[in-house]
Amino acid sequence: MTSYLISGGVMSGDQQVDILIANGVVAGVGSAIDATAATRAVKVDAKGCRVLPGFVDLHTHLREPGLEESETVASGSRAAAKGGYTAVSAMANTFPVADTAGVVEQVYRLGKSAGLCDVFPIGAITQGLQGSALAELGAMADSEAKVRMFSDDGNCVSDSVVMRRALEYVKKFNGIIAQHAQDPYLTKDSQMNEGAVSARLGLKGWPSVAEESIIARDVLLAQHVGSRLHVCHVTTAGGVEIIRWAKSRGVNVTAEVTPHHLLLNDERASSYDPIYKVNPPLRTQEDVLALRAGLADGTIDVVATDHAPHPAENKECEWQAASFGMIGLETAFSIVYETMVKSGLLSWDQLADRMSIAPARIAGYESHGQKIAKGAIANITVVDPNRAWKVDRDLVASKSRNTPFHAMKFSGSVIATFFNGAPTVLDTKLVGASHDN
């Protein structure tokens, strides 16, 4: 197996340090590196770069099985690698739904055979994502995929009894329930954030209270039954406030924010271009700022992409007819860097926490989010804060092109990604991937 020397990058503070990767693990750091081994290694120039634990995404739609025209586990893995991710969490809303041990194992194996990152399936909470009968959570937990995180994402578990039971049941195997917080009654046929912009555009409003009321109920339920709750894609200032309050009361709750909700606001809908149509919707600038502050102070634990590929025809239409969702794996780092680090809200160590360490801890992905030290499994991402690039939807690794960031310029890039000690990306380009889409 080829060994690699990541040379001249900065891990923490401002100290430049070399990192030797051999046999899948970190073989040495800094002065402890064996000189002979270093000369035999392929050198990866990381001067001016940051060396971080490989990113971990807790919210990824890989669309396989069933919707392979949008994405496959393999194509999604390529997008993940390109974005600096070494682990992704495949959401359950596939066809068939990932609500049985059989389907989660299938997705898990597809991830193994793609071999570009770990693909950890998220199991459905309820059968067929229908919100009523619980899926066989135990069987999924005991399967080869060892599912610990469950979500009906796309649908909210709105029935309070079902939500309570799910939270209680997963305590058996230290599982966690990831809720898509959206009151279905308040959001029937909703199209965009409800406020001044929706009033002007005549698009049906999606009130922030529809999200906040579910978050409030769920944190109280989690407290009541003493279980773990993860709030998917928080989008409102009020939601951040409720989670902050819950954490102060000792509720075992974690939360995520997407890069697009950190960057874009609901004014984008004025174009009526459904590339900006997403669930939950883009909110106001006030919400955007509250999300950034929440991510900075740790109220929001992690950045998760909610990468949601769709074929062109699902977006080349009028707003109401279009699908919800946008791709995000390949742009996540650049956006988080731009909005959070460059702006001074997060340190590099905190970025590593929000994008790698915390998500790996929440989901229990043991070989990820680890300190880069001798003997650790080499899941590593190298980023250059000064390598500017322009997003081009025609050059994405994802099978779908529905990025709202097309033609935007960002100042930081992912330079290299190492998954289990092997490079999946070098000099910003995919390596060793089979290009079968």
Binding site: E194, G195, G202, Y272, Q320
Partner: protein, 320 residues
């Protein structure tokens, strides 16, 4: 003049007045024995209607024909093309046929803008009503009607107070009128139950009231909006009877209006719900005249968008 007419907010004050003044000239054509101008001869105008709306469609059709354009009526409603693809596919089909202008009515807010911003068609796009967004030619014909009655057909609408009453939340007519009437200097008062006002309406250039009776004595024109029966099923108001009681225009309320105030309705009316038959047919009502003026205003819009004349004289001489 602009290339498309998608929203009343596309119009500057001068452009809005130009349309009204041009419409006045066009009205003379409609009153003459030969109701036709050669202005748009050889131009193709498509009526692309994804929603049923006989009155708007025939109004545009009459307007286009009086300007000698070739008119194609394309009713996409009920066609087998699936929803998402149909707008693009249809637009490209029309482009292939060489449409100079597309008049679009669609159930989705923003559909007209999508069409104009896409590369699916190169023609001028006129919004004939998009979902619950806007209906700019309706606002123009309303402004034209108000100006004719209350400002002897000259200038803008300064000094006038106009109430728009009813389902503001779902009304494209209200959105376009708030923008246009306020642009022309009128004071707009929106009157509705709180459930039928959009959240965020405070940002609009209009006053808000929940009390029709207190508003009526102040206004020079009152515009009643159609209230759809299905709104009751969504709990926007308890019953039709209660709605009529608080927000319907009836004989009693008619008597509280100023003596020269006019009553308007974009149609189609729910007689007995938002307006009684007696009021709709009263001497104060200009509802049928709105229909007549609709043709003149749409002629003006088509003329200005397609013939591209900057001002004043109309090719083909209206004065005949």
């Amino acid at each position: 003049m602009m290339r498309h007419l998608l929203s009343a907010s596309d119009l500057s004050y001068e452009q809005a007045l130009l349309i009204l003044d041009t419409a006045q000239e066009m009205a003379k054509v409609s009153e003459s024995s030969v109701k036709k101008l050669p202005t748009l001869r050889g131009r193709t105008i498509v009526n692309l209607f994804f929603e049923d709306s006989t009155r708007t469609r025939i109004s545009f059709e009459a307007a286009a024909k009086r300007l000698s354009a070739d008119v194609i009526n394309f009713s996409a409603k009920g066609s087998s093309v699936s929803k998402g693809e149909s707008l693009k596919d249809t637009a490209q089909t029309l482009q292939a046929m060489g449409a100079d202008a597309v008049i679009i009515r669609h159930g989705s807010s923003g559909a007209a803008k999508r069409l104009a911003d896409s590369h699916w068609t190169s023609g001028a796009v006129i919004n004939a009503g998009d979902g619950t967004h806007e209906h700019p030619t309706q606002a123009l014909l309303d402004a034209f009607t108000i100006r004719k009655h209350l400002h002897v057909g000259v200038g803008d609408l300064r000094g006038l107070t106009i109430a728009i009453v009813g389902d503001i939340l779902h009304s494209r007519v209200a959105r376009s009128n708030v923008i246009l009437l306020s642009l022309l200097g009128a004071q707009v008062i929106l009157v509705a139950p709180p459930t039928l006002l959009p959240l965020g309406v405070e940002a609009w250039p209009a006053q808000i009231s929940y009390d029709l009776d207190s508003v009526l004595p102040q206004v020079d024109a009152v515009m009643m909006l159609r209230v759809q029966q299905e709104r009751m099923a969504d709990f926007f108001f308890p019953t039709a009877r209660e709605y009529s009681h608080y927000f319907g225009l009836n004989r009693r309320r008619l008597s509280s209006l100023k003596s020269n105030a006019i009553i308007m309705h974009p149609g189609p009316m729910n007689r007995g719900l938002e307006i009684t038959a007696e009021v709709a047919d009263s001497a104060r009502s200009v509802i049928l005249e709105q229909v007549t003026n609709g043709v003149s205003v749409r002629m003006a819009v088509l003329y200005l968008l397609l013939a591209g004349a900057p001002s004043g004289d109309i090719e083909g001489s209206v004065q005949v």
